[in-house]
């Protein structure tokens, strides 16, 4: 519903198309090359490397899930033509016949079973989507059945995030086990891809550029008219804006808010904006008995609620919205955005800001009259103005006597450092920024299960609970929410669980960020509210 399609007048397009035609070199008279850029590169070509929107969004053009999202974010058939439940705890997926991988080999149930197993084991970062799964089995070449441990009505929508790989290819190239991103592991699938999707990876130079070409044997009718797609990471936002204005790129993903007005004034550029379902928040290590990066030894200040409250109520999200985000953010007190099923409007009220004396008093009561020092991890190319937000937080906390040593680094290094290990061991951070969008299910349960429930290697819950926050009451509620079919009862439990983490100051939710893209006016594209960018809807005139 938040999605939008843009179309523009013909005059400018003819001129732009001519310019583009001249700029494109060899591949035929009707070549439509589409060049786009983002702050950071796709971390890997392996679809289970990281449960990260940008990585999945990029790879969805190359690999495909069993069921995918259409323009309105509703589920539609992709590699499965029919799916459903044969019993409350058994799901079936009937696969699409005649589908071929990019190397021409046929797609069968073996590939599906292989992929689902690969995604739920080894170094895979997608394990959270398999918490309810007991067994995946092949029934015939075109049918797969799944047994779940308990009723899981959301299984199919969760698996819209699981992309299917070729079994034969992965095994031949020694990539049958997903590599562990937290150890910087690599295998053949890190730099190569073999999917069934509408685009084939023609060239991949990590950190430099990735070239995709359309898959001529694709089962679906392409909604695009492209002959080549070139993706380049351009770290500096000013350079990215300049490249778009000069026509060196056709589209930029995630425009810095400070440049939005300037781009809107450019007659050749269209700015596309909408609220995203992502919440950007701060978290801290509540698990270890001593923080990794702090001058306080022998105890962990974040285990004390007064310390968390002092932090929470000293961060002025309105100032961040105004000065850093230029108004392009929606401050929040919850870990889910409006529009997600299970958003509790009554609880979305941030407590008032504390005066610095009052915050200092809270810290003194907790036993830190002189404040303390803590390291903070932040990405510098993942979320909109991420590093600047962190710098602002450093300043706000300095006023209450907390010395924050900020380490802002590129997303791959940053994720590797802070995220939990595949065996559920905590990541190496004391205080961090992260963003989360329950983009697989659009339901709050995903947030409880992945971010807030106690981390547990066996149940696969809490995989992204970097805090190590643990609340038995919330755990029990979240488990019940998962299988509850009665909406009124479910909502009551959601309210209760939400109140638990809000009252605990378990996290510092900052804001829902706006998605701002910009493209040349001769490009027609589709922006879904989950900030994914399906190339299959891009046309260049």
């Amino acid at each position: 519903m938040n999605s939008m399609t843009i179309r523009f007048g013909r005059m400018t397009m003819a001129a732009a198309a001519m310019a583009l035609g001249l700029g494109t070199a060899v591949p035929g008279a009707f070549a439509k090359t589409f060049r786009w850029a983002n702050a950071g590169d796709v971390s890997s070509m392996d679809p289970y490397y990281r449960n990260e929107t940008f990585l999945l969004a990029f790879l969805e053009n190359v690999y495909e899930p069993l069921v995918r999202r259409d323009k309105t974010l509703a589920l539609e058939a992709a590699l499965a033509v029919k799916w459903g439940q044969t019993s409350p705890t058994t799901w079936f997926f009937d696969l699409r016949p005649g589908v071929k991988f990019h190397d021409g080999s046929p797609f069968t149930a073996d590939d599906v079973v292989f992929s689902l197993n690969r995604a739920s084991t080894g170094g895979s970062n997608m394990k959270a989507y398999f918490a309810s799964v007991k067994e995946v089995r092949k029934v015939s070449d075109l049918r797969v059945e799944v047994d779940t441990k308990y009723v899981d009505p959301l299984l199919a929508s969760k698996w819209a995030a699981i992309l299917i790989m070729s079994k034969a290819w992965a095994e031949k190239n020694n990539a049958a086990v997903a590599s562990d991103a937290t150890k910087n592991e690599e295998n053949f699938a890190t730099r190569n891809a073999m999917g069934t999707g509408g685009f084939i990876v023609k060239e991949r130079k990590a950190g430099e550029k990735t070239i995709l070409v359309p898959n001529p044997a694709w089962w679906d009718k392409p909604g695009h008219n492209l002959t080549e797609v070139v993706f380049t990471p351009i770290a500096n936002p000013a350079t990215r804006v300049a490249a778009l204005k000069a026509g060196d790129i056709d589209m930029m993903y995630e425009v810095p808010p400070q440049d939005t007005d300037n781009l809107k004034r450019d007659a050749n550029v269209a700015v596309i904006e909408g609220p995203e379902t992502r919440i950007v928040y701060l978290g801290w290590d509540m698990e270890r008995d001593e923080l990794l990066e702090s001058n306080i030894k022998g105890k962990n200040p974040f285990k004390d609620k007064r310390v968390r409250e002092a932090f929470y109520r000293s961060i002025d999200v309105e100032a961040i919205k105004r000065s850093v985000m230029r108004g392009q953010a929606f401050p929040t007190a919850l870990m889910v955005a409006p529009g997600i099923n299970g958003y509790v409007k009554e609880l979305d009220k941030r407590p008032t800001l504390l005066k610095s004396e009052d915050a200092k008093k809270l810290l003194a009561d907790a036993g830190y009259p002189a404040g303390f020092e803590v390291g903070m991890d932040c990405p510098n190319d993942r979320y909109v103005n991420d590093e600047k937000i962190c710098q602002a937080v450093v300043g706000m906390l300095a006023r209450i006597g907390i010395k924050v040593n900020l380490l802002a680094q590129t997303r791959s290094k940053y994720f590797t450092k802070i995220l939990r290990k595949p065996d559920s061991k905590p990541g190496e951070t004391s205080f961090y920024m992260l963003g989360w969008s329950p983009a697989a299910t659009y339901d709050v349960h995903n947030v409880f299960e992945a971010l807030i429930q106690t981390p547990n290697a066996t149940t696969k819950k809490g995989q992204f609970n970097v805090n190590g926050y643990s609340n038995a009451g919330l755990d029990a509620l979240a488990d019940k929410i998962e299988g509850e079919a009665d909406t009124a009862k479910r909502n009551a439990m959601i309210f209760e669980a939400t109140k638990l983490y809000v009252d605990d100051y378990a996290y510092i939710p900052l804001h829902q960020q706006a998605v701002i893209w910009a493209s040349r006016k001769n490009v027609d594209l589709h922006q879904p509210a989950d900030n994914r960018f399906p190339l299959r809807f891009v046309t260049v005139k």
Binding site: N236, A238, D261, S323, V394, G395
Partner: protein, 305 residues
């Protein structure tokens, strides 16, 4: 020699004469002195300590300079974190000058020592030192600085980066600049070592080290001073470039280069002052220092007299 004699001798020298004869040099010297003084007195002149995050207020961010819609509390405007640009430039210049001077001193010490040794000792020692210098001369200084910086950052623990960033920068720039000193000193030593005064010193039995330091060194210092002055400009620019590339001084302790990098992100969005003012300061500083260096070279070069 009394102080008065010394001043008298200095005032009577060729160098002072050529200084008085060149108005451009006098302006450059004045500008350099002004910038040095401003940097030295930064804590007194600044209205805010931009390196203390507690003194910043996000609601002051992006204020325009005073004649472009701003007010006198931020005469040159403010940056994205609410830092007063005027204060930040003072502190940034201080940082840049400090790093630049340290680089020159360290490079000079390494270069002179190696140059003296290789020129005076000769043989295998000279061959080794000069071949290393040759190899290093084939790379641009900035590349070497980047390389050293990258290696050091890989080795040290991540959380200490900010604390020792300045130190890493100084080491990496110094190591990329020593070659010029070593080559120049060695060349001069080769000329000087066969002169009569050195031979006389050797005859009366002075040790090699004493001859090198007490007799040869003072006679090769002229060209070294010229290189040092010009290198100050090079070191400042190299530091600014590294900081601009994001591997120099951290954003929490901005030098001029870091400020220009921060401002560069806003160049398209209308906040030109964040990058322009530090840019002008950097250009003025380096230009002034370079002009002084040029003058010194001409003044000390007997062929141009």
């Amino acid at each position: 020699m009394s102080l008065r004699d010394r001043i008298g001798r200095a005032a009577d020298s060729d160098i002072w004469f050529s200084f008085k004869a060149s108005p451009v040099t006098m302006v450059a010297a004045g500008l350099t002195a002004f910038i040095f003084l401003a940097a030295l007195l930064a804590p007194l002149l600044a209205v805010q300590n931009p390196y203390d995050p507690a003194s910043l207020n996000l609601s002051d961010a992006m204020k325009p300079p005073v004649f472009f819609g701003g007010d006198w509390s931020f005469p040159l405007g403010s940056d994205d974190q609410g830092r007063d640009l005027y204060s930040t430039i003072l502190y940034g210049t201080r940082m840049s000058l400090f790093v630049g001077l340290c680089c020159v001193v360290v490079a000079m010490v390494i270069g002179i020592t190696l140059g003296l040794v290789s020129g005076y000792v000769g043989g295998a020692v000279e061959a080794v030192i000069m071949r290393i210098a040759d190899v290093q001369l084939t790379f641009p200084a900035i590349l070497i600085a980047l390389l050293i910086d990258g290696v050091v950052r890989g080795i040290i623990s991540v959380k200490r980066h900010d604390e020792i960033a300045g130190f890493v920068i100084i080491v990496s720039i110094s190591l990329s600049l020593w070659v010029q000193y070593a080559r120049t000193v060695r060349g001069s030593v080769l000329v000087e070592r066969n002169k009569e005064y050195v031979q006389a010193a050797r005859v009366i039995g002075l040790s090699r080290w004493l001859i090198m330091i007490r007799h040869v060194l003072p006679n090769v210092m002229g060209p070294v001073m010229v290189i040092a002055t010009i290198n100050l400009g090079v070191a400042i620019i190299t530091e600014a470039t590294l900081s601009f590339l994001g591997v120099g001084l951290p954003a929490t302790q901005p030098s001029l280069g870091t400020l220009i990098r921060i401002g560069n992100e806003y160049l398209n969005s209308g906040e030109w002052w964040i990058t322009i003012f530090p840019g002008i300061t950097l250009a003025a500083l380096v230009l002034a220092v370079n002009m002084l260096g040029d003058w010194l070279r001409d003044a000390l070069n007997p062929k141009l007299r």
